[in-house]
Each structure stands twice: as structure tokens, then as C-alpha cells.
């Protein structure tokens, strides 16, 4: 297995590293915070992050420093930082490891971010299922408070940075930043119309920055080692730094791999992940960036894992969840399984997504049950066309991706199932109704 210099997973891979404050301090923890409080201005911290080229690790890949700079500096009221720890994108499990194994790395990143944007309060919105992670974070916050890294008057500098854990209650959509804010305000987690953006009208209509766990965990390292160092890693200038890729599916060694951006799928899957779990079966499909990303085929194995390359090849790097499927996997089944997820998780605010996900799912289920009709494939594409780009948040675009991409690469599998339906269809032309 090739070795790359790790940034985020380095500490936790040391034998015996427990993630306690003591352990974290021993590996240089909270030095970035001390350095900043000794005399780097908030604007300079923002500049360092901007120059590092760090882009959001949650899915959209927006430049982090730029996001911070949208927060108005002269705002008279409070500002907020929200850490998006609502990790629910199928195929993604990196934030869980970062929080459970090295909570202080995240907390230091949050205090630094609070300092940079002028927020006094930070909330960690963690998905409700991560009870263990929430408990570990609560404990770490208590430790950091005792040591003076969090709370009033951080390290005697006069900086106030209160950090709280806020657990969700099971809704994928709350990972969308405005839905997260709604949920944090105690409402149904439905996305808000943008603009205005959270940077000016976020939590309680105050300026707010929402950043992913992995994004925030990078901040202390960037501050300590400098923007240039970070910008030299990966695939500069647009995709800098490392990325934790979550490898799952039919590979030998699934798991989290932190690698510099810009390595290829082939390197990730075959060198890091040990290749396919069964040597006799070839790779058939890849979901390159979580359930919302369009499928890739074996022909895309040499695509580089950076934002631009994956986008150019017709998908997105998304949340970093790479799922591998071997020969013999039905892609109609795969699309249907994903659609079950999207149907279940659509928040119901926008009609195209709410109704469309139900139509897509029912049509896919019909085809899978050998009751499809020849016109179904065009109808699927027509439905997708009427969902994509017509919803408030990106969920609508996400739910059509698996359908459109499987139809693009494996249309014959759909047609095969429909042909089976023709043969087995009852003479009178029964139209089955599927209900959930």
C-alpha cells in the first residue's frame, strides 16, 4: 500500500492515541491557536485559509476562505459558526472517525474559525445516530474548557468562543446548510431559498458560516504549517490538500483513506483498497462521491480524484464516498436502491422533488419487478429533466444523478428487464400498482 503524508488521520494512527486533550497537546495540539492569539489578526487568518486553496469537504467544494470573507465585518449583532457534522450521504463515514478519534482537532479548528469570522458561538450539528461521537465531543469540550481553550476569555486573550454539540434526529436533508440552520432553530429541516446566503442571513438571521467537519479539522494544520505548504499538496491550484476518501462496496479493504487529491481511482481502489474483493470479478461501476454523484464505469478508473477532473468526467467529487461495484451487480437495482433513499429523504418542500422522487421510484420498482413498459425509459429521463435544476436545494439534482447515469452507461440492463416483462406480461395488460 503506498504511503502518503497524512494530515488529519496522522495523530489517530499513532499507537495508543486516545484523542484526549493530553494526547492532542503532545502532538502539537492547540499550538495553532496559541500562535494566532499571539498576534495574527482575524483577517490574516482568513487570508491564510484563502491562500491555502482549501475547499469545502462536505460536497459542494466551495473555497472556505472565500466563504468566510463574505461574513460582514461591521455587523453589530452576533455571528455564528456551525459545524456540519450531519454526515448522512450514503457512502460517507469520514467525519465520524474524525470526531470519535480526534475530537480536539475539530474543536481547535472551530475556535480558530470563530476567531477569524468574529463568531462567539459555534454549534456542532451532529446527526442524531452518532451518539458515541456526540458523547466524545461533549467530553472533549469540557476538557478544553477546563484548559482555557474554549469559553470566555480563551487563553487570557479576551476571545470568547463557546462551542456546543447539537444532535439532530434523523433527517438527511439537514446536511444541506440552510436546512441545517432551520433544524438548529428547532423547526422542520427544510432548505431556505437562497439568496440571502447564510453568510449574511444565517442562524437566527445573523451572519453564519457553515463548514464541514473535515474542512474545519484542516484549519489548525494550515495555520501552523502555512498556506504555501497546504497549497503544494494534492492537485494545485484548484484542488489542494489531502482528502479522506471513504471506500466501500466490493473492495478488499474498505475504509477511510487520506490521500493527496489528484491520485486516480485506480490507485485508490487497487493500491489502497486492495482491489476487488473477489479476484474473479471485474469492476463494473463506481459511485465517485457519495450517493448524489453520477455513476462511473471501469473506463473512468484513470480519472483523477480532484474537483475538476471528476466534474469534467461528468460526475462530482462530492463528499468523498467512493463505492465500488463488481460484475454481476444490477445497475437497475442500484439505481432503485438509491432512489428508495432519495424518496425517503426528500423533505417535501419543492413539488418536483417530492412528487418526482416518488414517480422515479415507482417506475424503477416496476421495471425491477419485470413489469416495465417500453416507454418507461424515456419517461424516466423526462421526469429527471423536470426535477433537475427546479428545486430550492441541490437535492433535486442529486436524486436524478443515479438514474441518468445508469441509463447512460447500462441502458441495456433496463431494456433487458423490460423485454422480460414483455414475455411475462399477462395477456390482458395488467398494470400493477406499487405502494410503499
Amino acid at each position: 500500500m503506498p504511503q502518503y503524508e497524512k494530515i488529519l488521520l496522522k495523530n489517530m494512527e499513532q499507537p495508543g492515541y486516545s484523542g484526549s486533550l493530553q494526547d492532542y497537546e503532545r502532538t502539537g495540539g492547540y499550538q495553532a491557536l496559541r500562535k494566532v492569539l499571539k498576534g495574527i489578526s482575524p483577517a490574516d487568518v482568513t487570508d491564510i485559509v484563502k491562500n491555502s486553496g482549501l475547499r469545502g469537504r462536505g460536497g459542494a467544494g466551495f473555497p472556505t476562505g472565500v466563504k468566510w470573507s463574505f461574513v460582514p465585518k461591521d455587523h453589530p449583532g452576533p455571528k455564528y459558526l456551525c459545524c456540519n457534522a450531519d454526515e448522512s450521504e450514503p457512502g460517507t463515514f469520514k467525519d465520524r472517525q474524525l470526531m470519535e478519534r480526534d475530537p480536539h482537532q475539530l474543536l481547535e479548528g472551530m475556535v480558530l474559525t470563530c476567531y477569524a469570522i468574529g463568531a462567539q458561538t459555534g454549534y456542532i450539528y451532529i446527526r442524531g445516530e452518532f451518539r458515541l461521537g456526540a458523547t466524545i465531543l461533549e467530553r472533549a469540550i469540557e476538557e478544553a474548557k477546563q484548559a482555557g481553550y474554549i469559553g470566555q476569555n480563551v487563553l487570557g486573550s479576551g476571545l470568547t468562543a463557546n462551542i456546543y454539540v447539537h444532535a439532530g434526529a434523523g433527517a438527511y436533508i439537514c446536511g444541506e446548510e440552510t436546512a441545517l440552520l432551520e433544524s438548529l432553530e428547532g423547526k422542520r429541516g427544510m432548505p431556505r431559498f437562497k439568496p440571502p446566503f447564510p453568510a449574511t442571513h444565517g442562524l437566527y438571521q445573523q451572519p453564519t458560516v457553515v463548514n464541514n467537519v473535515e474542512t474545519l479539522a484542516n484549519i489548525p494544520h494550515i495555520v501552523t504549517r502555512g498556506a504555501e505548504w497546504f497549497a503544494s499538496i494534492g492537485a494545485p491550484p484548484r484542488s489542494t490538500g489531502t482528502r479522506i476518501f471513504c471506500l466501500s462496496g466490493h473492495v478488499k479493504w474498505p475504509g477511510n483513506y487520506e490521500v493527496p487529491m489528484g491520485i486516480t481511482f485506480r490507485e485508490l481502489i487497487f493500491e489502497n483498497g486492495g482491489g476487488m474483493r473477489s479476484d474473479s470479478k471485474k469492476l463494473k461501476g463506481i459511485i465517485p462521491g457519495g450517493a448524489s454523484a453520477a455513476f462511473f464505469t471501469e473506463e473512468h478508473l484513470d480519472v483523477k480524484l480532484d474537483f475538476e477532473s471528476v466534474a469534467q468526467a461528468g460526475s462530482m467529487l462530492g463528499s468523498g464516498g467512493v463505492t465500488v461495484m463488481e460484475e454481476g451487480t444490477s445497475m437497475v437495482w442500484a439505481a432503485m436502491r438509491l432512489m428508495e433513499f432519495f424518496y425517503h429523504e426528500s423533505c417535501g418542500k419543492c413539488t418536483p422533488c417530492r412528487e418526482g422522487s416518488s414517480w422515479l421510484l415507482q417506475t424503477l420498482q416496476r421495471i425491477w419487478a419485470r413489469r416495465g413498459r417500453a416507454e418507461d425509459l424515456d419517461m424516466l429521463l423526462d421526469l429527471c429533466k423536470n426535477i433537475e435544476g427546479r428545486t430550492i436545494c441541490a437535492f433535486g439534482d442529486a436524486e436524478v444523478a443515479p438514474v441518468v447515469s445508469t441509463l447512460r452507461y447500462w441502458r441495456n440492463e433496463y431494456e433487458e428487464l423490460i423485454r422480460e416483462a414483455e414475455v411475462t406480461r399477462p395477456a390482458k395488460g395488467e398494470i400493477p400498482v406499487f405502494t410503499h
Binding site: 500500500m1 460517507t92 463515514f93 445516530e129 451518539r131 434526529a169 432553530e185 450517493a291 433513499f341
Partner: protein
């Protein structure tokens, strides 16, 4: 009675937010931990604590899948059925669990010990198939392992097979 029992915790929770309503999810979660589900009485009480109307609490509670609005069994088995787990055999496990417990997905056993749900991704695809029972994750499941977990829970109320802090793959050398 939430307020009576957890006065201190609730005061602390409320102090975290400038707007009372923000404490709604934490309080609903608390109510569920107390009784296993969120009862109507609890929702009314939470409404009072937060100066909301009961429908405001109810409309929010119905949005979130983790909140059970009806009583469930002592152990809530939530097995992941999303595609990543599906690729490595979660469907067989669900079938196995249904047979073993003698119930279908969505039902509770007669002794009110187990409720079985098939849920969407719980964020441990690298260690699939997996399930969550109450607060704990159980990963890299096989039918044999699930059977042991069920036995442990029946006997002890807890199982040593649950996951600790997540680390996967294990650091080099231990594989």
C-alpha cells in the same frame, strides 16, 4: 415530569441558545431517551417549556425519523438497507432477522423486547453491513454475529460486540 426530573439539564440546554425554540430537538431527544418514545404528554410539556403551541412541537417531531411517536420495543434494531450495505448482504440479514424474531420490518416482538426497522444509511459503509440498536452501532455483521448480539441483549441488556470509537481500516500492522 421531564422538567421535574431534569431541571438542571434543561436549564443548561436552554442557556445554549439565544432563541428558546432551538432547544426543541434536544428536548425531544431527551423525552425519547426517558420513555423510549415521544409521548403526547411529553410534547405538551415541551411546548410549555419552550413557549410553543403543542402543534408546533408535533409538526417538528413528525419531520424527524429518529423520533418514535408510538411506543416501541425495549431494543430498537435499526438495520441499514442503503445500497452500500445492500451490496454486501444486508438484504439477507434483514430476512434472517425477520425469521429469527418472527416479525416483519416495522413490527415489535410479542414480548415487547425487539422492534425491527430497516433504515437508510447510518454512516458506516466501510464496515457494512451494520445496524444500530438503541445508542450503539454494530458493524461488520454476519448472521452469526447478529445472533450473538440478540442473545447478549436478551440476557444482559447490553452486548460487548458494540463498536467503540471508529477507526477503519485499522492502523497498518494490525491488519
Amino acid at each position: 415530569m421531564l422538567l421535574e426530573k431534569h431541571q438542571e439539564l434543561i436549564t443548561e440546554l436552554l442557556s445554549r441558545y439565544p432563541v428558546k425554540r432551538s432547544a426543541l430537538l434536544p428536548l425531544l431527544n431527551l423525552a425519547q431517551r426517558e420513555e423510549g418514545y415521544v409521548s403526547e404528554a411529553a410534547m405538551k410539556e415541551i411546548a410549555k417549556i419552550l413557549d410553543l403551541t403543542p402543534p408546533q412541537v408535533y409538526e417538528t417531531a413528525t419531520f424527524y425519523t429518529m423520533l418514535n411517536l408510538k411506543p416501541i420495543g425495549k431494543f430498537h434494531i435499526q438495520i441499514c438497507k442503503s445500497i452500500m450495505c445492500g451490496l454486501v448482504g444486508s438484504d439477507d440479514l434483514i430476512q434472517w432477522l425477520q425469521n429469527r424474531l418472527g416479525i416483519r420490518v416495522g413490527q415489535t416482538t410479542g414480548d415487547r423486547l425487539f422492534t425491527l426497522s430497516a433504515v437508510e444509511c447510518l454512516g458506516s459503509c466501510g464496515t457494512a453491513p451494520m445496524m444500530q440498536i438503541n445508542d450503539d452501532y454494530y458493524e461488520q455483521l454476519t448472521a452469526e454475529k447478529v445472533g450473538r448480539v440478540l442473545e447478549d441483549l436478551r440476557r444482559e441488556g447490553t452486548s460487548p460486540l458494540k463498536s467503540g470509537p471508529f477507526m477503519f481500516p485499522q492502523p497498518a500492522g494490525s491488519r
